[in-house]
Symmetry: C2
Subunit: 107 residues, 2 copies
Amino acid sequence: MENKPSKEDLAFDFDFLDKLIVGIGEVSDITGVPTRKIRYWEDKGIIHSSSESGKNRRFDYKNIKKILLLKELVDEGYTLEAASEKVSKRMEMINKALASLKKKADE
Amino acid sequence: MENKPSKEDLAFDFDFLDKLIVGIGEVSDITGVPTRKIRYWEDKGIIHSSSESGKNRRFDYKNIKKILLLKELVDEGYTLEAASEKVSKRMEMINKALASLKKKADE
DNA sequence: ACGCAATTGTAGATTATTTACAATAATTGT
DNA sequence: ACAATTATTGTAAATAATCTACAATTGCGT
């Protein structure tokens, strides 16, 4: 552990984002989307959570990001369907970016 | 919302890290430190959480990071005290890095 | 008005966290 | 060896947060 500043400190903290999991209440606070609506969107199949049966929902970085993007569009007036489609495309880019950064981190 | 890749996608998602809050159970899963030990470290004043009375603990990015660093050192054999001191110095760097990146984000 | 999409409300059951008191290891100094 | 300190863990009872499922409501286009 060094104690001089370095970009390793956090500039690319994917390791962290990769391990990140968050409960529904916190996701609601982070995104501003009510828990009830988050569950509704999940019912519709637009977002996903790792809900092992009998346990509470857990959301990873990608799905929190997705909720943030969905909220943006839905607030603008998009239908859920249209927003979902648009966000899916955007998520492809984000997934690619994450994958390539993860690759770099492995080197 | 664009749909071509860009570094804005996530290369510096401080906005996200800044808003991030996580419950104790998830922090435990992320860091590998048992909840009981997290509470103990908080009792000792080494880490902090935003616990409004009557509500459950919430941890922000900085404190989760701190727990990860503490765990590293404690597992290596450091005393809690020594680990805490070393981590505090490291956190100064991380805080600086976060602050400067936040500044950039505001431009 | 009608139909549909989107959202919200809520009750009762279940899961997770909290606090507080106590017990157990491990290490260090005398 | 023994006492003292540090670090950790165990647990019970109360409280907070979440779960599911059924239902109601709102808003918008036809």
